[in-house]
Amino acid sequence: MSEYRIHLLVCGGTGCLSQSSHAVAESLIHEIKQQGLSDIAQVVSTGCFGLCEHGPVVKIIPDNTYYTHVKAEDAVEIVEEHVVKGRKVQRLLFKDPKTDKIITEPGELEAYKKQIRIALRNCGVVNPENIDEYIVRRGYEALGKVLAEMDPHQTIDIIKKSGLRGRGGGGFSTGLKWELTAINEADRKYVVCNADEGDPGAFMDRSILEGDPHSVIEAMAICGYCTGAGEGLVYIRAEYPLAIERLKTAIKQARNYGLLGKNIFGSDFSFDIDLRYGAGAFVCGEETALIHSMEGKRGEPTMKPPFPSVAGYLGKPTTVNNVETFANVPPIILNGHEWFSSIGTEKSKGTKVFALAGKVNNVGLIEVPMGITLREVIFEIGGGIKGGKKFKAVQTGGPSGGCLTEKHLDIPIDYDNLIAAGSMMGSGGMIVMDEDDCMVDMAKFFLEFTVDESCGKCAPCRIGNKRLFELLEKITKGNGVPEDIDRLVNLGNVIKDTSLCGLGQSSPNPVISMIRNFPDEYKAHVTDKKCPSGVCKALMVYEIIPENCVGCTACARACPVGAITGERKEVHTIDTSLCIKCGACMDRCKFNAVIVK
């Protein structure tokens, strides 16, 4: 082993780097060398500690001391005091910004981190194919506790009081949903786990099932006990083969221990789980369509009522909950509803898992308390926009949600605030867009998805969305007229008002919110026939600026269609009727003579 007895970890996350953490690292290395300590102390740069507001952050191990707001000139003191004498530098220790209290215990400091993992508590921690690892981390204790100490009514009460709401996007009270099934008398009842995750860019549920399948199994059993159901079904898309494998393994292991099956924990409660595969139709995430698909019928929604809690799978009372919703249940039972409801905002309790994707540096799976702002998510946890570009918008709620812009960055994220801002929570996809993204093209992208996924049962969704898509296509091709914008909005509103299910009722949201937030960009497309972001090819015109062109012929040689002509050492020109707008000439020109208009 090395002689290093002390490591100095310097945060190299985007937030800390912007406050010159690299200079801190350099002076620490320099100082350690000066003092002749290079053999015992090592300086390493790391990723983000999640304490961005207090950066630059230096963590010293093995004693887990955090120094915050460290400057390069503090290096001397840190090395002399901490490394040499083993004394903490008091003035650099983390201070609570509100109370000014110095926090020395690393455990206490945790509370200042932006993310908190409840639904993801075991993801990336346990081996998902080993039930023992789950049991070591209090697995199946919640189920045991419920069966031994609580009646269904008390359990539902805890879930209700916790304020847990459906994480699939609807945001309906989970406890109330359970109660509505529980009050219906029937010979058979069902618990269904909705694992038909279909939003483009969303992978929260897959990650939970692949990383911690037992927490979902345990929660489904608890739900079964509360609602009086003896059978659980996981409706999962066949495109998730690894999640399916791990679920199957987990179910088998749970049965082997007697944690699924007859008389669980010696009680008279029996419960078992089976899988149903979906073919990956977006509409089957809607609970009535999902139930039809499970019954072997076409995946089409039907009018509610009757709600599944009254007449669901095979006409029996059925509780349908999303994967992430279930993953929250065992910790609520173990830690109490007070604990859970202490996290989050007034009406949205707990945390939400987001699949952070698009143009951010740290694309990833994150779990944050409700009430966090988009700014914190995108610029601190997400590490800001890739390549130092400018933030433009973020799409939440996938193809059913809306886009949020700069002005929404500081609103606390919860179910109600997102709806008020013209978007929705959705299942947790968060796609970040930068200045290079065109909002007409984006709206077209999401609509192409819904047009593809519409089941075709009701006319507004089947025909209306197609027409919306065609209008957008017309605009991106440069054939739009100013009236098209009003047409889009009017038709969008009609589709929202008249569609049968959530798919059609929400599919115009992206285009409507994008028109609302970026009216000038839409106008530029239809009146000036320009795409300000340079995405819509049909609206782009490549030109050579005569003053900059030296006649080097590089562009003409690069052009794949021979659209550029000109003699050597003379100004070249582009024949726009031949140009396919591939941009090869622009890449090749060393004199900035090729421009896009």
Binding site: M1, L9, G47, R121, Y140, G258
Partner: protein, 131 residues
């Protein structure tokens, strides 16, 4: 496999498993060994985590290092896949990202053998609910 018939059974099993960790039981990895954990969700595998895992298993054996290599789910650091967590006996776990063969080799030679930390550690940037 023994059935769990009540809370006492579950508690007993949990205690047994916990003492396995302290000693050298086979169910859960023991604390006295180097523990290498590799994120193996679909997306991790698509980024090459299976190759990384195979490489680590082979190389640790070739280089005579007594280590337990296990798989886990998504650690959440999609931008840095494949991600690997290494726990040396008596030390805090350390997570490394972008672990290809080259980085895996460095992890074995520098960190596992010599305790030298590598650049680009991914710190735990979230709160846990169980401690």
């Amino acid at each position: 496999m023994t059935k769990i018939k009540n809370m006492a059974d579950l508690k007993k099993l949990k205690e047994q498993l916990q003492s396995d960790i302290k000693t050298e039981g086979k169910n859960v990895r023991p604390e006295s060994l180097v523990h290498v954990k590799i994120a193996m969700a679909t997306c991790s595998i698509a980024s090459g985590s299976r190759e990384t895992m195979n490489y680590l298993v082979d190389e640790l054996e070739k280089r005579n290092i007594d280590a337990v290599v296990t798989q886990t789910g998504c650690m959440g650091y999609c931008y840095a896949e494949p991600t690997v967590e290494v726990t040396l006996p008596g030390k805090e776990p350390v997570v490394y990202g972008y672990v290809d063969h080259h980085k895996a080799d460095e992890i074995i030679e520098k960190y596992i053998k010599n305790g030298i930390l590598l650049e680009g550690i991914i710190p735990v940037n979230y709160r846990k609910i169980d401690d």
